[in-house]
């Protein structure tokens, strides 16, 4: 490549900084990425966060445990049910509150429905980021059905506040089972449609295969989790490793891929949607009878010490770490956010690639910005 070197000496190119600023369609919210570019090749990505830092951890030090649950909805609003469940499980384990099987099964079904809704939205926006704008409307059409189910049972479409300490807020609506079954039947016909529209599209395959490759060691070293890490072969599914709620009574397969490129991360999430549907099907027919809420004291005080609860949200494992000094509000409450951990891999993934690849990589690690900034 003699002339390449010759040209490189003759033409003096200079690197420049580009702000993929807080307001940009590819950043799914308000995240700023300062790109050091040489032409269209990316030399370095430095994310600047904090544009939606709402100091939730400081607020949690002033509110009681029951009130802290309602703040967790606004963390990762696409898996709001799992966030509530995380704090509820922590307090129940720490304060020794026993929940019956019905509550566990309801929580698991709701968690899987939220995961489906989150993956649908991810797929919709992933298609938009690569340029196929129709996927946005297909994804949201199916998401509306889940919103109807949530609205009827939990009362709200997005930030549910459904699970509380010691159970769930309302009992299941009487046509909840019918609606969920209709949705599963509908979505089983529609998911192959997603594959025909985007997954098997040759341009999409060209845009995602071999892009942003992460090996298993890199993923572990960066502390990444969720479908992004499972695409590189790192088995980090908390539902399998430390089963909580009704996950021990359900047999499902943890999806692992080995290539670790953008298409592997895409494929893992699509297969996870099938797994979530099979989990719901196993649970929906035999929801045990019982109280939907166990009696708890008005003001719950945790004993001295520190507690950790890990839950598998749609983006990865959310860790809630509480240091309690026996009073009614936590001394220190830390949310270990999955998207914040996944951000570490972005730089290694996109150095040397083009801006279009950065957009694809960023949307395959499926980041929710308020989950990062807390």
């Amino acid at each position: 490549m003699g002339n390449q070197q010759f040209l490189a000496d003759k033409i003096r190119t200079e690197e420049y900084l580009l702000n993929m600023g807080p307001q940009h369609p590819a950043t799914h919210g308000v995240m700023r990425m300062v790109l050091k570019l040489d032409g269209e090749e990316i030399r370095d990505v430095e994310p600047v966060m904090g544009y939606i830092h709402r100091s939730i951890e400081k607020m949690c030090e002033h509110v009681s445990y029951k009130q802290a649950i309602h703040l967790t909805d606004r963390l990762d609003y696409l898996s709001s049910h799992m966030n509530n469940e995380a704090v509820a499980l922590l307090v129940e384990k720490a304060a020794g509150i026993e929940v019956n099987d019905r509550i566990k099964v309801i929580r698991t079904i709701m968690a899987e429905l939220t995961r489906l809704a989150s993956h649908q939205l991810w797929w919709a926006v992933m298609g938009m980021d690569t340029g196929a704008l129709t996927t946005f409307f297909y994804g949201f059409r199916d998401r509306e059905l889940i919103n109807d189910i949530f609205e009827e049972t939990c009362g709200s479409r997005l930030t549910m506040n459904y699970s509380l300490i010691g159970g769930v807020r309302y009992d299941l609506h009487e046509n909840f089972v019918k609606r969920v079954k209709d949705f599963i039947a509908h979505f089983k016909k529609k998911l192959p449609e997603y594959d025909n529209l985007l997954s098997n599209n040759v341009i999409f395959r060209k845009r995602t295969e071999g892009i942003g490759i992460l090996t298993k060691e890199q993923v572990i070293d960066f502390g990444m989790n969720g479908p992004t890490a499972r695409a590189s072969g790192f088995a980090c599914d908390i539902r399998k490793k430390l089963p909580y709620s009704a996950y021990d009574k359900v047999d499902f397969q943890e999806i692992l891929a080995t290539e670790g490129d953008a298409f592997a991360r895409y494929k893992v999430r699509i297969l996870e949607m099938w797994e979530s549907m099979s989990i719901i099907e196993q649970l929906i027919d035999n929801i045990p009878e019982g109280e939907h809420r166990v009696k708890t004291k008005a003001v719950i005080k945790l004993p001295e010490g520190e507690f950790l609860q890990r839950v598998e949200t749609a983006r990865g494992d959310l860790g809630v770490y509480v240091i309690s000094d026996g009073k009614k509000n936590p001394y220190r409450l830390k949310f270990r956010s999955p998207s914040f951990a996944n951000m570490h891999g972005l730089n290694t993934m996109s150095v040397g690639t083009k801006i279009a690849d950065l957009v694809v990589n960023f949307s395959t690690i499926d980041v929710v910005v308020p989950d990062i900034d807390r």
């Binding site: 307001q23 400081k58 607020m59 002033h62 939205l121 949201f140 059409r141 509306e144 997005l158 308020p370």
Partner: protein
């Protein structure tokens, strides 16, 4: 019959005063719209402006999901011609603040608003944009209400508000645009004494 107000056990008398004075920063009154004299030409131009509100691609947190749902097939705001969402503020004439505005985001929102071409409208969507929402107390980095930063035309309560209420807010804005007159709009600029919600 004297209208009774349901206050649900909150004694409203001193609640206003208690909240009133400690509301940091001052609120910028929205200036455009709301006067009587509308000429034939205004009516035609207002009809055009009213029915082609192109919103800016701007969503910070949870309300952005509900804004997307409004664009989705079921609630579909493309029936009214809103679906052209422009990415650059230059070509947008409606900014829907969907989500919380933090202290670090306020100058960015301020600059976006300045970059927009003149007949520009603002919808504050969700409790966070209206008044700081769930982050009103004990939070050190949230601007309590987007009207500290830019003048807001229509407020949409709810956390997050349903897509129908966002559509209703857009119709509210359309009604406001119909009575707008170009003479009134040009001379006074509402943003002389603006504050970014950080200075006292």
């Amino acid at each position: 019959m004297e209208k009774t107000r349901i206050t649900m056990g909150v004694d409203v008398k001193n609640m206003e005063t208690e909240l009133g004075n400690e509301f940091p920063g001052n609120v910028i009154p929205a200036a455009n719209g709301g006067n009587i004299v509308v000429t034939k030409l205004d009516a035609a131009i207002n009809w055009g402006r009213k029915h082609s509100l192109w919103s800016l691609y701007f969503g910070t947190s949870c309300c952005a999901i509900e804004m997307m749902q409004t664009g989705a097939p079921r609630h579909d705001y493309s029936r009214f011609g809103f679906e052209v969402a422009r990415v650059t503020p230059r070509q947008a004439d409606l900014i829907i603040i969907a989500g919380t505005i933090t202290v670090k985001m306020a100058p960015v929102l301020r600059r976006l608003y300045d970059q927009m071409a003149e007949p520009k409208y603002v919808i504050a969507m969700g409790a966070c944009a209206v008044s700081g929402g769930p982050f009103y107390f004990n939070s050190y980095s949230v601007v309590r209400g987007a009207d500290h930063v830019i003048p807001v035309d229509v407020y949409v309560p709810g956390c997050p508000p349903r897509p129908e209420s966002l559509l209703d807010a857009m119709f509210e804005l359309q009604n406001k645009i119909t009575e707008e007159s170009m003479a009134h709009r040009v001379n006074n600029n509402p943003i002389d004494g603006f504050d970014e919600g950080t200075t006292k």
